[in-house]
């Protein structure tokens, strides 16, 4: 089997190289033909032989281009074959393959054997290559949308694909054979990865990372060919939205996995690898906003080009961080030589991009004209500033230990306290912009109109803030918020109040638009809002994404109220945390083929009433001989009760339990769902305009005026 896999990888490399070279050749010929035709159009005399040469060149270039496209499609088949072979080897427990030996074992459950594909260095690079080939497959099938642009994008994609296939064939071979005696069983999968979400989280994250290659390929292609018009940015935007949704899903699934498995009670640790996933997400989000400036007003063409490039580059940089071991991280793969490969690839892509950018940047020049500071355009400029600044802060914090080592000779730790101090104020500013932005119209918004539409949401947010400060703390986690007690309470109050402000502005936009439709069509408000969303899915889908973001932010704000308690718990012992009382009922153990486990059984009381029985688990994985905790989480809208069976006290053998009371965590996961629903809505095409529209009656009330137009 290993031979088939190795052969498939070599074939994929050959096909990719052909796709790249033939693609470049075809495009070069086509450019020549275009220049010849331009000469004819300009009235220059063209000899008869030259006309036939043009026809021959055109025909030849089209055929070569078609073979390049088909080679790109075939690359997907070859990489898919290699991936299937690796998965089959995992299911067949073929420990003659070093990768399978190190990442699987006989008793590993079937879903995790499938997940072996992306659980280690070599396999995950193969998976990356597979996804890239799959994206390329879809792109090459859809080439009729714009054959020339897609041909350029296909060439760029082939270039990236070659890099990953070179890595797989010569630096991190997934089918390397074990030398000497083949062990009877494998080393097993890392226990932390043996959790259902690990079967979903990496594919989602990789779909996001890899997907940003497509917008980059279109952008670079459009730059090289000096693409006329803005169609490419429209195509790129849709691909970016799909990719962004995958990355969002991947990042938050990672957070949920960390929360559910790692047992420290948190979901985000500002680890370099977590930061690596956040950076392209931030620049990608900035692009999704600023792209509207280019579509609507033809502005920011150069900036958008840079954002697309930065997003792709940061995705690769993140992989470089993970693979090179240059920055210490709990997620990092072992240090290996492939870091050098990534460094070279990053340098080459930067040089190629810079070369074409400076060569063709005159094509990106546009006439920028702003009518007013109070306009959608300027809000997007500030929005982009804050997103890029957040990205810079994360990048700076991630690299600072290395920089510090170079400058002052010693490493420092850059952990959560640093990011809380630096990133939270910027994020709060961004939240203010999220509230104001949708209320601003393109070109110019009168201050009166802004004041009129901003007043009620602002009053609403202030009322909520006062209410949260005034209420007693016993009402729940977010109540009784006394900002003078701690700076984290102050930040939380600000975050919740600003989130309410954003939510109210979003609601007011739906309400205003719904009311106009309701007046015209005489249907109910909800039906009108649905119709409103369907008529401009991008705009209102975007608002739903904003709403999801504020729900997530409220969830983050809950971290200020977290409590935790650790205690030795014998039979019948009690622990009180917040409103809950835990009584230890029993301890038990179990033995499964893959692991042995110890369980604590605890009755949970709220007041005098028993509300649940919880069973945190501690597992010992036999193959890897590693221990892992499986927290038991009782999730609620207000708070999560999170129990971890930490193990036995080595001195006296008493079981130790840690309880966390994590406020508002459920809001984070709910918010992500809302964000994804909004993204899907934004991808749906708009409903066609009705054939018969009643004569527009002027809206009587000035308050009904929708302040913002367009997306």
């Amino acid at each position: 089997m290993a031979e088939i896999g190795s052969f498939a990888l070599l074939l994929a490399l050959a096909l990719s190289v052909y796709s790249l070279l033939a693609g470049i050749l075809a495009l070069a010929f086509q450019t020549r033909v275009s220049s010849q035709l331009t000469g004819v159009a300009a009235g220059r005399p063209v000899p008869g032989e030259e006309s036939s040469l043009v026809a021959m060149l055109r025909h030849g270039s089209e055929r070569i281009g078609e073979t390049a496209r088909r080679a790109g499609i075939a690359t997907f088949g070859a990489v898919l074959l290699a991936s299937i072979v690796l998965v089959i080897c995992a299911f067949r427990d073929d420990f003659s393959i070093a990768y399978i030996l190190h990442h699987s074992n006989r008793d590993l459950p079937a879903p995790y054997k499938f997940a072996v594909l992306w659980s280690g260095q070599e396999g995950s690079l193969l998976f990356w290559s597979l996804l890239l080939a799959a994206y390329g497959f879809v792109l090459r099938l859809r080439y009729k949308t714009d054959p020339r642009l897609f041909a350029y994008a296909s060439v760029v994609l082939s270039g990236v694909q070659i890099f990953f296939l070179l890595l797989l064939n010569f630096a991190a071979h997934p089918f390397a054979i074990v030398q000497g005696t083949i062990p009877a069983d494998g080393n097993g999968l890392n226990p932390l990865l043996q959790y259902p979400e690990m079967v979903i989280h990496p594919p989602m994250l990789y779909l996001g990372y890899v997907g940003f290659t497509i917008p980059f390929a279109f952008a670079l292609g459009a730059l090289i060919m000096k693409y006329p018009g803005e169609k490419w940015i429209n195509i790129t935007r849709r691909w970016t939205m799909v990719t962004w949704a995958f990355l969002t899903c991947g990042v938050f699934l990672g957070a949920h996995w960390a929360y559910s498995v790692l047992g420290w009670g948190g979901y985000w640790g500002w680890d370099p690898v977590e930061n690596a996933s956040l950076m392209p997400w931030l620049t990608g989000t900035a692009f999704l906003h600023s792209v509207m400036m280019q579509e609507k007003r033809g502005m920011l063409k150069m900036w958008n080009m840079w954002l697309v490039f930065a997003t792709f580059w940061l995705a690769i940089l993140g992989t470089f961080l993970t693979r090179s071991g240059i920055i210490s991280s709990v997620h990092a793969f072992a240090q290996s030589s492939i870091g050098d490969w990534f460094a070279w690839f990053l340098a080459i892509t930067l040089i190629v991009f810079l070369f074409f950018f400076f060569k063709n940047k005159s094509h990106l020049r546009s006439e920028h004209k702003l009518e007013s500071l109070v306009s959608r355009e300027s809000s997007f400029l500030f929005n982009n500033l804050l997103f890029v600044l957040l990205c810079f802060t994360v990048l700076w914090g991630t690299w600072f230990p290395k920089i510090s080592e170079l400058v002052q000779g010693n490493k420092v730790t850059v952990g959560a306290p640093f990011y809380n101090r630096v990133a939270i104020p910027v994020a709060l500013l961004l939240l203010i912009l999220t509230a104001v932005g949708p209320l601003l119209a393109w070109r110019k918004t009168s201050l009166e109109s802004l004041k009129r539409n901003f007043m009620w949401p602002t009053i609403g947010a202030i009322v909520v803030a006062i209410f949260l400060m005034a209420t007693p703390q016993k009402w729940g986690s977010a109540f009784g918020l006394r900002p003078w007690k701690d700076i984290s309470y102050f930040y939380s109050l600000m975050a919740i109040a600003l989130s309410v402000l954003v939510a109210l502005t979003v609601a007011s936009e739906f309400f205003r638009g719904g009311r106009v439709i309701s007046k015209h069509t005489r249907q109910g408000m909800f039906a009108s809002m649905v119709q409103l969303t369907h008529r401009n899915t991008r705009r209102y889908g975007g608002y739903i994404v904003h709403f999801g973001v504020v729900v997530v932010i409220i969830g983050f704000a809950g971290a200020a109220f977290n409590l935790d308690k650790e205690q030795e718990m014998g039979y019948g012992d009690k622990m009180t945390i917040g409103p809950y009382t835990l009584i230890c009922r029993s301890y038990t153990d179990d033995d499964a083929p893959n692991y042995a486990s110890e369980w604590a059984v605890l009755d949970v009381y709220k007041g005098d009433k028993q509300i649940d029985t919880m069973t945190p688990v501690r597992r010992f994985y036999k193959a890897s001989r590693q221990t892992s905790t499986m927290p038991d989480i009782r999730s609620g809208l207000n708070e999560d009760l999170y129990l971890v069976f930490e193990g036995l006290n080595p001195d006296n053998g008493h079981p130790i339990l840690k309880a966390h009371l994590n406020a508002l965590v459920m809001w984070i996961w709910m918010g992500v769902w809302i964000m994804l629903i909004g993204t899907v809505l934004a991808l749906i095409p708009n409903a066609p305009a009705p054939l018969r529209v009643p004569a527009p009656s002027r809206v009587a009330s000035a308050h009904a005026e929708p302040v913002a137009t367009g997306d």
Partner: protein, 216 residues
């Protein structure tokens, strides 16, 4: 809420006298924190003086209006509780466990960790002795090295970690303001003969009409 007002005033008073009422220098860039604390003290002295001399001295209306706002902002930002348990929790969350788990000291969750228990005991002992926050941190850095702190300090080159993002913010903000001004001051494109560019109220009227008729 008279009780809470009183509490605020007590905290305010201690801060004005330069006492550590649970304020956390570690949370802010050191020098900046001191400057801000001075500012807080000055504003509070002003406020207290104004309160005591309310009948004899009239303050300017604008200052009077923003004082409570400033007071609230600074009080919320800089004051807090100062009991040992809170300090233990705060300082413990600003240090790392050194066992290699890359976790915050108080969040290190594995039983049998060779380091975290001892470090927690040391922290508690230092606080019980009455050591200041900076003394506790210095002691830990001397014993375990600078990586024991979960965030860079505010001394020497470490300051750059905090300065750079805010410098980038100021730079970016200034740049955008300049760009907006430049774009705004660009002359309007020329239009065909016989057409008159519209401005002001006339343009606004047509703009409003267009919005109402075209936007859903």
């Amino acid at each position: 809420m008279p009780q809470e007002t009183k509490l605020t005033e007590v905290n305010v008073g201690t801060a004005a006298l330069g006492c550590r009422s649970g304020a956390q220098p570690g949370r802010f860039a050191g020098g900046a924190y001191e400057v801000m604390r001075e500012c807080v003290a000055k504003i509070l002295r002003e406020c207290l003086m104004t309160n005591s001399n309310r009948k004899t001295k009239r303050s300017q209306p604008s200052l009077k209006a923003i004082r409570p706002l400033l007071l609230c902002t600074f009080v919320f930002a800089f004051l807090g509780a100062s009991d040992p348990a809170t300090r233990f929790n705060e300082i413990g969350h600003q240090m790392m466990c050194i066992c290699g788990c890359n976790q915050i000291l108080l969040e290190c969750n594995h039983v049998g960790c060779p380091d975290s228990d001892g470090m927690r005991n040391e922290l508690m002992a230092s606080l019980t002795r009455g050591d200041s926050d900076s003394l506790v941190e210095q002691g830990f850095v001397q014993k375990y090295g600078p990586t024991v702190l979960a965030a860079p300090t505010t001394k020497g080159f470490d300051r750059a970690a905090y300065i750079m993002p805010f410098a980038a913010l100021i730079l970016g903000f200034s740049l955008i303001v300049l760009v907006i001004r430049a774009w705004k001051n660009r002359p309007a494109p020329a239009i065909a003969d016989g057409l008159r560019p519209m401005h002001g109220a006339e343009l606004e009227q047509f703009r409003d009409q267009a919005r109402q008729e075209t936007d859903l």
